[in-house]
Amino acid sequence: MSTLELTGVSKRYGSQAVLDRLDLRVESGEFISLLGPSGCGKTTLLRLIAGLTPSDGGQITVDGQDLTALPAHRRNIGVVFQNYALFPHLTVGENIAFGLKAGGLPRGEIAGRVREALQSVKLAALTDRPISALSGGQQQRVAVARALATRPRLVLLDEPLSALDRKLREHMQIELRRMLRDAGMTAIFVTHDQEEALVMSDRIALMNRGLIEQLDAPQAIYAKPRSLFALNFVGLSSQFAGTVLAAADGQVRVATPVGEICAPGSLLPGSSVTLAVRPEAMRVGGSATASDNQLSLPLSDTVYLGARRLLYFHSAAAHGEDIEALQIIAELPAQDQAAPHIGERLQLSWSVADTLLFPATPQA
């Protein structure tokens, strides 16, 4: 159980800043995900914490001890690599024992720790197998067991599930989470898969261009995205660009191509904004109250997803090629009713409180 603290951590390659004075505090026993598109710096950050890449500035401390100048092999931070990096010339047991031997543990104790580590990932029967004889899922578990066997202060996982097929990946998300919780391990998990981050994390650090855009619990990341980037990276939404007409009582009235929409917030009239609504906040049909935002649009497409169904509307106000920005998505439980017909005009409504408001930024 250890607390990790990063202060002002920077890394640049040439003139390009990969990490720009980044701060992050990970609490003891916490499972935190670094989520972001490729090139956002999440893997670089992981390597910096592990000591595999030197940082250009800032401080990395674990439980108050400054690790910044220590080489990787003195940090006692476990890492599970993307393709596991299991030693091909060693057996499963020898892979697990590697870190214990390097740490100078007595022989007798090593055997016990290896057995214990393999039991915790339910692979005790495979101790003497060579790595090449294992399936992907088994290799993944060996990699986790190897990283945990040395009882590191914290464990870093670099997209450890990305090489597995979907079904196994979903199983391992739960399994991995359980293993780390049982070990009481502070964990930092790098992924570009938003679902994986939502499923597994206590908190998500959403990264973009070398900075953390938002650090929050998964629910907050989804329900209260702090920027358009966060909104777009996690989950679907309908979005409307517009201009604030009036602001009063903690609400703004915004003129958009599909009509006036109200949202919670306070901005000066004349400000450019983007409004967004999550698909499940949309109601289809006639149960709107007077204060709700309302639209009436023809259905342009439906997508059946088993438990639910997505309805796509393209606003009649879509002009030119800017259709993407005016795509409107609603979600229905699929069992509720028969699928509406494409072309059918439907009544959409959502409460003002469910409308997200983002001031327009130059790059958005």
């Binding site: 990787a72 940090r75 476990g78 690599f81 091909p88 010339h89 590697f98 390097a102 004889a133 990283a147």
Partner: protein
């Protein structure tokens, strides 16, 4: 698998025929003739005198010892120089790697005779090497580098080095740098990482390189002939003398057979070592 079995009788196997035929004709048959001529005396009668004489003469033991000593030194020095060079080459940026490759391969196109003569010029008492060492103040009087083991080893290492570097380079290039990262995060320091990850993973290349260099160094003739001359005898030189000066076919072919036995046993030993290293992985594939 079934596919391959069905193809085998008339498929791929025939492609080896021209090569195999050529080898039988120019290698296996002459080898038998060589073996035969070591077992028959000048009058054509069967005789083990060739082996008797060879093994009975203590001078020959000295020559075999010289030969093995030189070959072993050359192999070890090639390994010592070649191993880091191979890794530097494997980790170099593509452009640099290309240059290094060129530097390694180009000298192979220069004949061994030319290279040996070049060394006799370089290594002379008043040659450039001694001049440089004197100039730098590292030595007070010229080192004797010609007509002795020292010069022979220097020249032989130069000629055979590429055959050590290339197999190790091939293996080094395939060692994933993430293995080093993993070993470091598991607490392995630089030496521990080398000893337990890099070295075992590169061993197949080391074994191949050593087999190449040793078998060539044990049978080299031109380099010792030009660098040391008659004063320092190795088995190939003795062998050539028996044929060319003594006109003693039996003695010559006996020595040729002995040399062959030494070289082949080294190659077999090293490939056995190599197989032992991979034995674990093979057992695994059978189990799976």
């Amino acid at each position: 698998m079934t596919n391959r079995l069905r193809l085998k009788p008339l498929g791929i196997g025939w492609l080896a025929l021209p090569g195999a035929g050529y080898l039988v004709l120019v290698f296996a048959l002459p080898l038998l003739a060589l073996l035969a001529s070591s077992l028959f005396d000048a009058e054509g009668a069967f005789s083990l005198a060739g082996y008797g004489n060879f093994l009975g003469d203590s001078y020959n033991a000295k020559v075999v010892w010289n030969t093995l000593k030189i070959a072993t030194s050359v192999t070890l020095i090639c390994l010592l120089i070649g191993y880091p060079a191979a890794f530097a080459m494997a980790r170099a940026p593509v452009a640099v790697q290309g240059l290094m490759f060129l530097a390694l391969i180009l000298p192979l196109s220069v004949g061994v005779v030319v290279k040996s003569f070049a060394w006799t010029i370089l290594l002379r008492s008043n040659g450039p090497v001694n001049a440089l060492l004197l100039q730098l103040g590292l030595i007070d009087e010229p080192l004797k580098l010609l007509f002795n083991e020292r010069g022979l080893i220097i020249a032989a290492v130069h000629v055979f080095l590429p055959f050590m570097v290339l197999p190790i380079f091939t293996v080094a290039r395939q060692i994933d740098s993430r293995f080093m990262d993993a070993a470091a995060t598991l607490g392995g320091g630089p030496l521990y990482r080398f000893r337990h990850v890099v070295w075992p993973l590169s061993l197949p290349g080391v074994v191949t390189g050593c087999a190449f260099v040793f078998s060539m160094a044990v049978s080299m003739y031109v380099i010792p002939a030009l660098i040391v001359g008659d004063r320092y005898q190795t088995l190939p030189a003795l062998l050539a003398r028996a044929y060319l000066f003594m006109r003693d076919r039996q003695a010559g072919s006996t020595m040729a057979v002995m040399l062959l036995i030494i070289a082949v046993s080294i190659v077999l030993l090293s490939s056995w070592l190599g197989r032992r290293i991979e034995a674990r992985q093979q057992r695994a594939q059978e189990a799976a």
